[in-house]
Amino acid sequence: MTVNAGEALVMSGTVERGSFRLEADLRAIPGEVLGVLGPNGAGKTTLLRALSGLDALTSGTIRLGDLTLDDVATDTFVPAQRRPVGMVFQNYRLFPHMDVRDNVAYAPRVQGAGRRQARAAADTWLERLDLTALATRRPHQISGGQAQQVALARALAANPRFLLLDEPLSALDAKTRLDVRAHLHSHLDQFTGPVLIITHDPLEAMIMADRLLVIENGRVVQEGSPAQVASQPATQYVARLVGLNLYTGTLEVATRRVFLDAGGTFTVTLSEDDPTAAAPDGQSTRPVLVGLRPSAITIHTALPTHGSPRNVWKGTVTGLEQLTDRVRVQVDAAPPALVDISAAAVDDLSLRPGTAVWLSAKATETEAYPDPGNHRKP
């Protein structure tokens, strides 16, 4: 990986399409894979279209190192065809009337190489991605996983200086996805420019990305390492994705008690580097988020009595969902919670919708962190 600070992809601006508005500030450095995570309609694809030059910004700039790709103020706009971009589209968009080799040879060909030269370049890429056997097949004759690889080869054959991948694995079945993800990961590692991967799959984002950008309702709501985002989600959407119960509430600093917006009170642990602990501006209360893993909650059919400091609250089972290795129990309570327990425990407690239960969670498992305020819709 060559680190070349001059080639970072930096965007700061807005895109308006009809009534939808995307506002984004981002910086992807060379060799970095930046994952863009967000629900459908959040503006992920809009972002990618602006970066690729298929759409123009409404305000702001996009730069790649010293190269200005889009600057509304100076009326500079480099269209897609002249941007050093490599783009892998969601459904790959392999040209159906060309075989795999000609698809990959397309970029060299339209950029001025002769037919023979372009095909030679394509063959090099096909070999590098282990696709040589598919060279003479048409796109409809190859599998989804192979199409994904060919689309990547086609994008790389354009010698791009940054790569954009739109939901690269979403069109694949679960099993293929694992294989292709591994391949994709290793190829992206070799790419020296900035890489942006759009996804709505948190696992994909966690595995592929060095850093995550979470977009909701056209705004960046969280940015950080996958571990940070997973452990301290800033919004309900991310919390649900990573399988956390997320509560908003008000922390009483002195007692470490959080009065939850959804009802109830938790005694919490504050994260080490948490500025709320010190209450810097002398306030005694602060808005916080509380994250609670479904597996950290215990279900009881009677009021639990034993020891250590716990948060205990009462509720009613509203649903049971079989996950691969456990059962996720939905409990309507104040606050409501998702609880993961074993199938055996469901039997033991004879849980079914309507069962009245007690929930408990250790204070040490109940972590509070500052609320950036992004979950509230603008």
Binding site: G53, A80, A155, A158
Partner: protein, 288 residues
Amino acid sequence: MTSQDRPPAESEPAQRSRHAARAAQSRGAIPWPLGIPALLAALFLLAPLAGLLVRAPWLGLPRILADSQVLDALRLSLLCASAATALSLVFGVPLAWVLARWQVRGISVLRALVTLPLVLPPVVGGVVLLLAFGRQGILGRLLDEWTGITLPFTTAGVVIAETFIAMPFLIITVEGAFRAADRGFEEAAATLGASRLTVFRTVTLPLVGPSLLAGAVLSWARALGEFGATITFAGNFPGRTQTMPLAVYVALENDPEAAVALSLVLLVVSIAVLASLRDRWLTTGTAG
């Protein structure tokens, strides 16, 4: 189903297939208020064609078709229809692309106007062509003054008349295809560095290929059968502007047998066109 209560008088598979047949029969039953008009319509459309086959002078056919005037008309028809199709492709495809892709106010008015010849009586088409390209027409006079070329009553005039009538068929077919074509492929080509013209040539055109072919065949067939605009604008001079339909019309007065024979030839051509279009045009009824 009551089959379970019934004694097993027949084997179960046989019973089941009989039952399935009955269900299919009742699904396929046609109510008579629809069936009778449908039958009459089919007869109305097919009986004249059958009549043509019955009345065709099969024995005299070689003699009639070998007649030099008939051969001239046939050759002229094929030549002019092909030239009109070529002109339609060269100018109509770009226009179809502009109509499909150019998003400006008034483009739908332009689309309606250029496809007007589809519904315009062809004779009127011939009249407006005379007004425009006739020796005294606004454009025709300039053409005459600058180049000495006059179009009316020439073979070139036949081509002009046929193009005027046939090109809209190509335009609507191909325009629909351009509109329906997945823009995603063009965007992919753009991100790979292709200019708009290159995208058009290497991606858009190949993708609409089948519609292009359908549009070309359709406009060729329309040009081949063109009568009204041709006779009005180009006249009816054997060997120069007398195409097959015109020859049929003339022959009907002095040699009915020849008219029938020539009609037979045009019928064969039409059937060939239908056969070549059956996937693209007939089954869907759209320009796809």
